[in-house]
């Protein structure tokens, strides 16, 4: 455990040094003689759509500042993403006064009204295929999404079903977004889980309705809050009818809070690029929402990535704590395609744990990647045991092909991963 905490501290160190990139970035514009000029204006061409206030603030920040191509490319990427544009061309011309330049961001194609999206498509040699895809219709500032999912990777169960979501990207102000999501899943269970979990904990269906609002506190920091109404179809509840377990519908309604920080310095076009992504999620099941389950779940996750040329280093950290009578899908899992790769979650803890600590360090050269994962999952202090794994493979952005080996398991039993995961 000491090793784990030490690793956590080491991995957290770069996060505390988030100001460092400023110094790094200063070196880069010196390569470009135009960085001595001042940006006179930024023009958005080829589209009559209005950008959000958050992006307007970013544009205003660039105007009057020194010309920084990296910042402008980053802004163009964000506008492209927000407005669902196919491409944005950056062109720079002389300004109206000496030593000033005008930046033109030209939308090359009109807004995409309809889009298909694949969020996950992963093959795991032990657990098989996992997929998560959706179709989205954009109209004005609204988006309606319908999706299909089959996932045997992230929870103790395999869940498969549909998602439907409505999003309003601006409610009064661009800083507030609203989202309603309805999910309906059927679940399948591994025999190891069935043999360890009480029968009353096993559910066959799960419906989730989540109204949620997101407030952009200060880019890149945002806060999401809402409620998750979950209905579980339990075929063998602890309630008995005539001496036999009866089927029952249970509710697990929780207040959900997520604080998220995502900052990026440089872009994929630059020689240097850094990224920090951190989130803290609290879910609290409470009787106030007429929930049959009362629990509190805390999860903190972070990663830091630094790329210089073809070299990339990445550090990940996660810690979680669950208390109360939470349903199985709230329990923490290690040994999936993201955390503690190489281990099977059913070998570590078939019903998941209530405590989680995880760290990972990775190095990538070009598309060749290596990684070292370590973590522990437990319910009682006696069960606490740090596990480790190493892996090697190929990775290009989200696509990866990797093989990971569990260390100290007493056998060489690698797991192969292929596909893409976000």
């Amino acid at each position: 455990m000491k090793t784990l905490w030490l690793l956590a501290l080491i991995l957290a160190a770069p996060l505390s040094a988030c100001k460092l990139p400023d110094g790094e970035e200063k070196a880069s514009p010196r390569l470009n003689v135009n960085s001595r000029y001042t940006v006179e204006s930024v023009r958005l061409l080829g589209t009559d759509l209005k950008i959000s206030n958050a992006l307007r603030v970013e544009v205003d920040r660039i105007v009057g500042g020194k010309y920084d191509l990296s910042a402008i490319e980053d802004l163009a990427d964000r506008i492209k993403s927000e407005m669902h544009l196919a491409d944005i061309k950056i062109s720079v011309t002389r300004g109206t006064t000496p030593d000033h330049v005008i930046v033109n961001l030209e939308a090359r194609q009109q807004q995409q009204k309809f889009d298909l999206n694949v969020a996950k498509f992963v093959y795991d040699s032990k657990e098989g295929w996992n997929g998560d895809g959706a179709a989205t219709m954009n109209f004005h500032e609204n988006a309606v999404t319908f999706g299909l999912v089959s996932d045997n990777d992230t929870l103790v169960e395999r869940y498969a079903g549909i998602r439907a979501r409505f999003e309003r990207k601006s409610v009064g102000t661009d800083r507030v977004q609203l989202r309603f999501e309805f999910d309906s899943f059927h679940t399948q269970w591994n025999t190891a889980t069935l043999s360890e979990a009480p029968l009353s904990e096993i559910y066959r269906t799960r419906q989730v309705f989540t109204p949620e609002a997101t407030v952009v506190i200060l880019p890149p920091l945002d806060w999401s809050f809402g409620v998750s109404f979950d209905r579980l179809g339990v075929p063998f509840s602890s309630t008995t009818v005539g001496g036999a377990a009866a089927a029952k519908t249970e509710s697990s309604n929780a207040v959900v809070n997520t604080l998220r920080y995502h900052q990026r310095w440089g872009s994929a076009h630059d020689r240097r690029e850094q990224e920090v992504n951190a989130s803290y999620i609290v879910r609290a099941g409470t009787g106030l929402l007429d929930s049959d389950r009362a629990f509190t779940r805390h999860l903190a996750r972070a990663f830091y990535r630094f790329r210089r040329g073809r070299h990339t280093v990445r550090a990940d950290f996660a810690a979680g704590r669950l208390s109360g009578a939470a349903p199985l899908y709230e329990r923490f899992v290690l040994g999936d395609s993201e955390m503690l790769r190489g281990w099977s979650r059913f070998d570590l803890d078939p019903v998941g744990g209530t405590r989680l600590l995880y760290g990972s360090a990775g190095y990538q050269y070009g598309i060749l990647q290596t990684f070292y994962d370590t973590g522990a999952i437990w319910d009682t202090p006696r069960q606490k045991e740090a596990r480790q794994s190493v892996g090697i493979g190929f990775k290009k952005e989200c696509f990866q092909l990797a093989v990971a080996f569990p260390l100290g398991s007493g056998r060489v039993d690698p797991i192969f991963y292929a596909g893409m995961n976000f």
Binding site: L31, H84, D87, N117, A268, H269, E397
Partner: protein, 203 residues
């Protein structure tokens, strides 16, 4: 009649010599105990995509590689690689070049020709303890990172995953043109003895 014939011979010889000079692109010199190179007829800042990017206020890295072979053309005696980041000042209409490898150097307010020459001059190399009669060959290559390796899907992948829009963008894009490159230009065989008498030219 005989005078006309004589002048025809002189003109033919001189024009042939001039054409030969024009065709020879890599010139090798020995000066101050260093091997120096010149690419007087190669202009990597005169057009194409790199110049288009430069005129759009974007810096363009150029990778240079100079290789000297000795004895046979399979034996690499010395190889130098360096990167030069070139940018074009929109207001002053001149170039700045930064040599990236140590020792890092930079020059500003250069014309296109001056910038090209400065980059090539930085590739001069020492050849210590080399027998003067050893046959040598030189090979020079330049590549621009104008079609540099960017995001696989042009940066269109968001937190929510890979979208159809990004796929359409990728597949509707024309096949990426090869990286702009110049050369390889070669010279040889020559020896240091030859160079001390006169520079060697290659193509």
């Amino acid at each position: 009649m005989s005078a006309i014939k004589f002048w025809w011979v002189v003109v033919a010889f001189l024009s042939g010599f001039a054409l030969a000079m024009m065709a020879e692109e890599l010139i090798v010199n020995w000066r101050n105990d260093r091997l120096e190179f010149s690419l007087s007829h190669v202009h990597f800042l005169s057009g194409g995509k790199p110049l288009e990017m430069l005129h759009n206020a974007a810096p363009v890295p150029f990778d240079f590689q100079m290789t000297v072979y000795s004895g046979s053309r399979n034996h690499v005696l010395r190889q130098i690689t360096d990167q030069f980041v070139v940018s074009y000042a929109l207001w002053e209409e001149d170039f700045k070049v930064v040599k990236m490898q140590s020792p890092r150097r930079e020059r500003e307010h250069l014309s296109a020709q001056e910038a090209e020459k400065w980059c090539v001059d930085q590739m001069a190399m020492d050849l210590p303890r080399l027998a003067p009669e050893t046959p040598l060959w030189a090979r020079f290559e330049i590549r621009a990172e104008d079609g540099k390796e960017g995001p696989l899907f042009g940066g269109s992948i968001g937190d929510s995953g890979l979208s159809l829009t990004s796929l359409i963008e990728v597949f509707s894009r024309p096949a990426r043109a090869a990286q702009s490159h110049w050369g390889p230009y070669e010279a040889g065989p020559f020896t240091l003895e030859d160079l001390k008498r006169s520079p060697r030219r290659g193509s």
